[in-house]
């Protein structure tokens, strides 16, 4: 087991290096000027340009730029162009909101995906299976921003559920419970919208895994010895089919965080995705490099954890 973990760690270090290269070179190898302002802006004198170049080491050779950039990122000296605050600090402020949103969305995706997938597998090849598979594709094909607005239109018309931000301002809460309920409503909507695609993907995985398990010899044995079909299905088959859920957690992350750029913007939710969008609008290079790198690194760690969990559950994996 230790051997397996060490091997995975070594690969992850290599991947982290590649990730840092990609996130850095997207910015530097993009044709066009690296300046966040227009070429014809009269306020930008050559001195200002020089200062900017020096600040971001753009006057150095490319390899050195990469090294200095990464060093600045890690010791917190990499500063946002927009407000001159350390990028790490800006990201750190947004991280808790994003993580809680994504964890909630992942929980919704996994639980509903599991239910839908098991239901489809139970009726494999029959009408309910066909309908759930079409439903899954409907979920994947719906653009997140569209469904968000449809939900917002519906909710604002017919209810008074709070929508934007993380909490309602200027509202008096008689007790802590109502305050938390208010916060819950704020996070629930974006989380539901974010999880729609994940539900579909997970349900397909679970269904495929269940159907594969149901073909195993031990299932036939269990049936042959006269166990109730439901016992065989929910005990023997289901327990052996939920492994993809673990890899699913790793696989969900990039989609969730990527999708949250749009969803967080719509719901004015102060997470990493919205910070990223603001940075794109302001052409804030250091922030963009840092967000791409940190999010990819987080996903890498997520994958590492899910790999190790997988090896704990299924010892065969360790031997690969």
């Amino acid at each position: 087991m230790l051997n397996f973990i060490i091997r995975r760690l070594a690969i992850s270090v290599v991947l982290a290096f590649l990730i840092s290269l990609i996130s850095f070179f997207i910015i530097t190898l993009t044709p066009g000027s690296p300046y966040p302002w227009g070429e014809l802006n009269p306020k930008i004198t050559p001195q200002v340009k020089e200062a900017f170049k020096k600040k971001f080491h753009l006057d150095r050779p490319l390899i050195e730029q990469y090294w200095l950039n990464m060093r600045d990122l890690f010791n917190g000296n990499l500063k946002s162009i927009k407000d001159d605050r350390p990028v790490l600090q800006k990201i750190g402020e947004r991280l808790p909101a994003t993580i809680s949103l994504n964890v909630l969305a992942a929980v919704i995706s996994l639980s509903f995906g599991l239910a839908l997938g098991v239901y489809a597998a139970k009726h494999a090849g029959k009408t309910p299976d066909l309908l759930t598979s079409i439903l899954a594709f409907i979920f994947i094909a719906m653009p997140g921003f569209w469904i968000s607005y449809l939900i917002v239109i519906g909710l604002v018309r017919f209810t008074d559920v709070p929508i934007l931000g993380t909490q309602s301002y200027g509202v008096f809460f008689p007790n802590a419970a109502s305050m938390w309920l208010d916060r819950f409503w704020h996070i629930a909507l974006p989380a539901v919208v974010l999880s729609i695609g994940g539900i579909a993907v997970q349900s397909r995985f679970i269904r495929a895994s269940m159907i594969e398990t149901l073909r195993e010899d031990y299932i036939r044995t269990a049936r042959a010895k006269g166990l109730e079909p439901d016992t065989v299905f929910f005990k023997h088959a289901l327990r052996n089919s939920i492994r993809p859920l673990i890899t699913g957690i790793g696989g969900l992350l990039p989609g969730l965080i990527g999708g949250s750029v749009i969803i967080e913007t719509i719901f004015a939710y102060p997470g990493l995705g919205r910070l990223g969008y603001e940075a794109v609008l302001e052409r804030d290079y250091p922030t963009l490099v840092a967000i791409n790198f940190i999010v990819a690194a987080l996903i890498l760690i997520g994958n590492l954890i899910s790999d190790v969990l997988y090896a704990v559950v299924d010892p065969r994996v360790r031997l690969e």
């Binding site: 994947i140 569209w146 990039p254 990527g258 794109v280």
Partner: protein
Amino acid sequence: MTTTASTASSAEVADLPLLLESPGRRMWRRFCKNPVGVTASIVIGLFFAVALVTGICSLLGVYFPYNPNTTELTQKLMPPSAAHWLGTDNLGRDVLSRLLNGSYISLTVGFVAVAVSLFIGVTVGAISGYFGGWIDNIIMRVVDAILCFPSFFLILTAVALLGPNIMNIIVVIGLVSWTGTARLVRAEFLTLRETEYVRAAKALGIRTPGIIFRHILPNAAAPIIVTAVVGIPDAILTEAGLSFLGFGVQPPQATWGNIISDGKTYLLDAWWLIVFPGMAIFIAALAFYLAGDALRQAAESRSERK
């Protein structure tokens, strides 16, 4: 391929006379029997026809029902009516005309971006799977690294830096989304390169490119086609998302995403600005996904139910 056909034959006695048909024809025959797949293909065909006709008409300067860029402020934010079937936007432009006019953008981005990603993915995957060893190792680590990035944000970053236009959007989507295809092609090559006909081809002294492109690639065609079809709606949805955030094809050109983006300010007064363009994106994407799934089922050597 005859081996897979003979394993299927025991149960599908009715198919016996067709055992000698090519895998491609068998896939086509089975696809035609799937009502979901056929319906989806018809819908795709309709979208394609609309995009082609409106695209050509706009080149000729003919527009219907109205010019998508003509503003008429007296008619602004009109709900759907006989004159404007899908209503008008905040500048009095006809939503139906804008939807029709924007359709070719979505489909072009979908098809061309997938072509780019297929080209890269197939080449890289073929090299990786055929040669194996350290080449494979390096390529696969790069693929793993790219898969760690939240692809939408990576695409958004690159498009914003390059400048949003249709060319850049297509290239960036293609450059970011080839990894899935590469993995799939690599896996196919790993198994196919050990087959007897590939060994025979090697023994006959056929050169490596010939083996890769003439002997292995055609046998890996089915899964590649399926990923391509499923890649199209992914690209369409990505383009719509970029458009929505203001980094798609720039106004005044209408795209399905930017109609919604413009309409979101009038969210509660003009639902038709949100509902109809979103419906277009949704139906187009759904049709491609369902067609892709039907193709996948048709390509499977044996039915899942057994």
